[in-house]
């Protein structure tokens, strides 16, 4: 019988834990934060471009500028409140706490709003979360950009805060620095922000078409859509599997959660699923 007394046990416990950390650091595996490099779209014409959906609360405005070419100083200013001027080196996670006391219930300006802002600024697609709105500073900045999506800006404005006029074609364009990855022209059409859910409408399942038509659909594929919904609408499991590229989860699982669990982005196949649904009688 090989006995271990308390002192060796204490030494082993501390040594294995700390030694293990030292070893994993030495081999370069120890990492306690995200890389601040958003995942890239994998397929289609956007393949290789950074995905706004991967912006995390730990990103600073400077990280966002580096990844997406959205100027940090202007962005921080656009999201500042009357009481608090944001620093470009500050994490965007502070927004939620900052705006929570100011906003009406059900509306939110947090990391989701930053993703939306970057999406509207760059033209990269992103499905906004329900309740996400943009502060008036951000709306004004975006409205000044050529080709701004007036409909989307109206949709994401705080109720009664700002009236967004159609953008003037000759409006001054902020000079975006060269992004780390190529980003589509800032003059992306409104269609480049598909499936954005209206916070004002606030009704599950109601989405904008992404073409600016604003037509609500009872069979819209949105974040909350489950596999069960898709089957109920008439799609087969095989059809869904063919689009998403893996075996669908249980009926109660949302397609977006399933995509996240599979390490994919919902936006990668949302349009294709919607097309299948739209083709149904």
């Amino acid at each position: 019988m090989t006995r271990v007394r308390t002192l060796p046990m204490a030494i082993v416990a501390v040594a294995v834990m700390l030694g293990g950390v030292v070893i994993t650091k030495a081999i370069g595996y120890w990492n306690t934060s995200s890389t601040k490099e958003p995942v890239k779209f994998k397929e289609g014409e956007l393949a290789g471009l950074p995905n706004p959906a991967d912006i995390r609360g730990s990103y600073t405005w400077q990280d966002i500028e580096k990844a997406f070419g959205v100027p940090a100083v202007e962005s921080a200013r656009a999201f500042s409140t009357a009481d608090r001027a944001l620093d470009p080196a500050e994490r965007v996670s502070v927004l939620e706490e900052l705006y929570l006391p100011i906003l009406p219930p059900g509306l939110e300006i947090g990391t989701g709003a930053v993703r939306l802002y970057v999406s509207l600024y760059t033209g990269l697609p992103f499905e906004a979360e329900e309740g996400s709105v943009l502060p008036s500073g951000a709306i004004e900045l975006l409205a000044g950009r050529p080709g701004a999506d007036a409909e989307a800006l109206r949709r994401y404005s705080l109720p009664g805060a700002v009236t967004v006029a159609a953008p003037a074609p000759a409006a001054p364009v902020p000079a975006a620095p060269a992004p780390a990855a190529p980003v589509p022209a800032a003059t992306a059409p409104a269609a480049s922000v598909p499936a954005a859910t209206s916070p004002a409408a606030g009704q599950a399942g109601e989405t904008q078409s992404g073409t600016g038509s604003g037509q609500a659909s009872a069979r819209a594929v949105v974040g909350k859509t489950t596999f069960g919904d898709l089957y109920d609408w008439g799609l087969s499991e095989a059809q869904v599997a063919a689009v998403i590229g893996y075996q669908p989860g249980p009926r109660s699982q949302s397609v977006r959660d399933s995509a996240a669990a599979a390490g994919k982005e919902f936006s990668e196949f949302r349009t294709a699923l919607q097309a299948l649904v739209d083709a149904l009688p």
Partner: protein, 296 residues
Amino acid sequence: MAIETIKAKPKKASRWLRRGVQIFFFLLVALIATNEALEERGVSALSFVEGASLHAICPFGGVVSFWQLATAGTLVKKVHESSVALAVIALVLTILFGPVICGWICPFGSIQEWIGSIGRKLFKKRYNAFVPRGLDRVLRYLRYVTLAWVTYMTIVSGKLIFQDYDPYYALFNFWTGEVAVAGLVALALTLALSLFVERPFCKYACPYGAFQGIFNLFRVFGVKRVAATCISCKACDRACPMIIEVSTSGTVRDHQCISCLKCTSEDACPVEATVVLAAGKPAPSPAAGASKGASL
């Protein structure tokens, strides 16, 4: 003879060794998590320690990320490679010595234990005996329900689903405004219950403790009772925070053992080399044990 042994044994040292390790890891985790939260707010007050989110230094994140890591090669949101590394390191310790993480390292287990020492003084023998044994035995399997639910939901959603309910996360982040109400309630409830029951969260709800507990069934070094020298005084039973009947065991295989070594001959057991942490079969007699056994 046995009474003489009791008086002769220096028990305080082993007790304080474990407490020292617990305090060290509690302070380390508190400093790391606090520094991270301060840095998020632009304050560099604890620059002598590297900041990291609590998720990044919790091995359970690595456990629940396993499926996503294996199938998609990615980690659950908020979980980083450090969690996976810690999960592997903890697994090595657990396979060898059982849930050492629970008994020696986990800061949340430690704080429950420290509050419990107040409860022990307040309620004396009634402490840790408020829950009827029958009910207690059933409730102890609740943590496997928690483990199954957390694992399933994390796989399905790709998110750290337990964060909103996790009292451990709430303990080190309650002041940041990032803790869900459910987490704060779980924290308050756990700390309050710790006055009556030893380690209530570990016993009834901790999913990582449940995972670790499985390894008690086949760990290399187990808590063993040498029947030949046991005087059946049941001091080991009374000392066990998890209310395991060590006095009737050969090798403790109870899924709730946390390898705290309170029951051993270095602490509660009054007879030398009778309840020990060891690998291999106990020697047939004390004399044979002395001649054949190895000791670390």
